[in-house]
Structure formats: C-alpha cells, structure tokens
C-alpha cells in the first residue's frame, strides 16, 4: 500500500518535428510511504521522487520512442518514462509511469528489493 501520497506536477511538450515533440519542461514530485509485509512485520519505505527539467530556460531535449519518453536533462539526470495518451472529455489525459527500486531492511539486517511502479495521471 501507499500511504499519505502527495503528487504535484506539470509537463509541457514543445518544438514538434514531424508531429513529435523534441523538447519539454516541467516537474513531477511524488512523495508517500510504501508499506509492505515482510514475514510477520509490516515495514515502510519512504518514497520521495522529485525532479524538474533542466537545461536552457529549464527546457530539456526529449526523445519519444514508442511508449517511452526520455527526458535528457533533469535535476536527477536523464529520466525515461513510459507513457500513454488518451482522450479525456474535451481534453487529453497523459499517464506517465515512474519506476523505482526500493530496498527494505529486514529484521535480520538483510535487504529485500522491490520494484515500485506508480502511474501518474495528468490532464489538459
């Protein structure tokens, strides 16, 4: 489970070439607590994934390939996000997927790794 999640963000895509955007600017921030049961103990991991586009005027070059967008210049380095665009009422809905590996510490000192996928919904 994810507890006390908080999400803020905006993304703008610009500089289209042959119908495909080549630049973007914006930011995404996801915070929360991931809870997982390991044995008889329910433990938690803090999720705090925040980045903004960087570069000239905060605009990053991007590469759109299939269902992935690579943001080449962000505050946390290059980021690749899976995405999906859907019509939503009179506008559009953009789903972007964050993927993060988290390491839980077990009571015996060992760690258990998990891959966390979070789908963010943005509209315009």
């Amino acid at each position: 489970m994810l507890l006390n999640t908080d999400v803020t963000g905006d993304l703008q895509f610009t500089d289209f070439v042959n119908g495909v955007p080549t630049k973007a600017f914006g930011q995404l921030a996801v915070t929360g607590i991931l809870r997982v049961q390991l044995g008889q103990v329910i433990t938690s991991f803090t999720v705090d994934d925040t980045f903004s586009t960087t570069g000239t005027d905060g605009v990053t070059p991007i590469t759109v390939l299939g269902a992935s967008i690579t943001l080449h210049s962000t505050s946390t380095g290059e980021r690749t996000l899976e995405f999906q665009l859907l019509p939503s009422g009179a506008g559009e809905e953009l789903i972007v997927r964050g993927n993060k590996t988290v390491d839980f510490e077990n009571s015996d000192g060992s760690t258990t790794s998990a891959s966390l996928f979070i789908d963010l919904r943005l509209t315009r």
């Binding site: 999400v7 955007p21 103990v41 329910i42 509209t123």
Partner: protein, 234 residues
C-alpha cells in the same frame, strides 16, 4: 508430631489459596487504563510506560532538561484533538504531557494493538495520529509486528497520540503493471492553438492543446487520490 503438622499445613495452604482469589482482592498490579504514570526524564534519556499499552523511549539528548513526563490512558476517542484522516483504534488514545515540551530529537513510541481485531488489510494502514500534527497521520518509519501486536514509530511531539488506520491509502497491486501504449501528442503550433511555450506559473487554467499537462487529484472523503495506480514487484 507428624499427625499434628499435616492438618496445620493444609490450613495454611487453604488460607493462601483463599488469599489468591482475585475476585475479592485489589492487587497492587491491577491494570487501570485511566491511571496516570509519571516519571522524571532528563537529557540522558529514559523509558516511560503505561499499563494500558504504550511505551515511550526518550533517546539521549531528546530533552534539554529534566522534566516530569506524564501519560494518561483510557481516554474517549471523541476527545481526540483535530480530525485525523482515519479511524482511531479504541484503547490506543493516550495523552502525554507536557504537550508543548520541545523535543530535540524524535522519540520512539510503541503502542499495543489487538492485531486479531484488525482486518488484514488494515494492518498495513496503521500510523500515528498526534494532536499537534493536525489531520496528518504519521506513517513514515512506522512498522507493525503482527506477532506481538506492537506498532512502532517515532514522533516529534508530545500531547495526544493514538494508533490510527489511515484513510489516505492507495492499494498497490503485486501484479505486473498494465502495459502503456504511448500515443501521439497534439502539436499546438500546427493546430493553431495558443502558444505552447507559456509557462505554468502564469496561472491560466484553460483546456487546450497548448496547455501543460497537470497532475489531477480527486478526493475520497478527505483523502486525496493523486495516483492512478501502483504496482510493486518483490
């Protein structure tokens, strides 16, 4: 001699067993949930417990000076300050005073919970509500031992504290996440809509292909829902 000793010994045993009849005795270790426990705790740290099911550990350096700290249990849930976004568990509301005492370090809190009375899904939703953190429920660093029924975490303030089943929860699936299909972005320039390069901080909120995409949050009760879905693979 032995014939005289045996009846006397039986009499003593009978008297002792009678003395152990708890229904007629007020034992000195009877649990009184409304009792107040008090202890002086100094900068060197210390441990304070209440028989109704809370234990608070003050680490070295948490208090600047020696202070009498009190814990009261058995309080009515309806008296809990603020409006925590979740369900306060009965029997877990304690008041720790002095409420405004400044803590230089977080203190570790253990609260006993009747785990068997909790729905399995609720066990992963447990957190601490404190009177000084308004509606927020502290879930960071909180763990729950199902075997012992101990909820453990740290808090940054004294005052009202209780164990809460949080409402602000997104269920995370253990199945693989759905495949995302990509799509075609609308070129605002080509379609003749307003400039795509307008920054978000200009404050406009119209809906057109020239607008930025914005995170959307909905609400279930008072709990925000800002995520579409989540999945975790161990």
């Amino acid at each position: 001699m032995h014939r005289n000793t045996l009846p006397a010994l039986c009499g003593v045993l009978a008297a002792a067993l009678t003395a152990c009849d708890q229904k007629s005795q007020n034992l000195p270790f009877d649990l009184d949930p409304l009792s107040v426990t008090q202890q002086s705790i100094g900068p060197e740290g210390g441990l304070l417990s209440h028989p109704a099911g809370i234990s608070i550990e003050f680490p070295r350096g948490a208090l600047a000076r020696t202070t009498k700290v009190s814990v009261t249990g058995g309080l009515a849930l309806s008296d809990f300050p603020g409006n925590p976004k979740g369900e306060i568990l009965n029997g877990t509301y304690f008041n720790v005073t002095p409420a405004q005492l400044e803590l230089l370090k977080p203190i570790s809190v253990d609260i006993a919970i009747a785990a068997a009375a909790l729905a399995e899904g609720d066990r992963a939703r447990l957190g601490f509500a404190t009177g000084l953190e308004e509606a927020e429920i502290r879930t960071e660093g909180v763990s729950f031992d199902i075997t012992s029924g101990i909820l453990r975490g740290s808090v940054n303030s004294l005052g009202a504290i209780a164990a809460v089943v949080s409402d602000n929860v997104i269920i995370v699936s253990s199945d693989p996440p759905p495949v995302l299909a990509g799509g075609t972005f609308v070129d605002a320039t080509a379609s003749g809509v307003s400039s795509a390069a307008t920054r978000l901080d200009s404050g406009f909120r119209s809906r057109s292909a020239g607008d930025p995409f914005l995170v959307v949050c909905s609400y279930t009760g008072t709990a925000p829902r800002c995520l579409d879905s989540g999945a975790v693979a161990m």
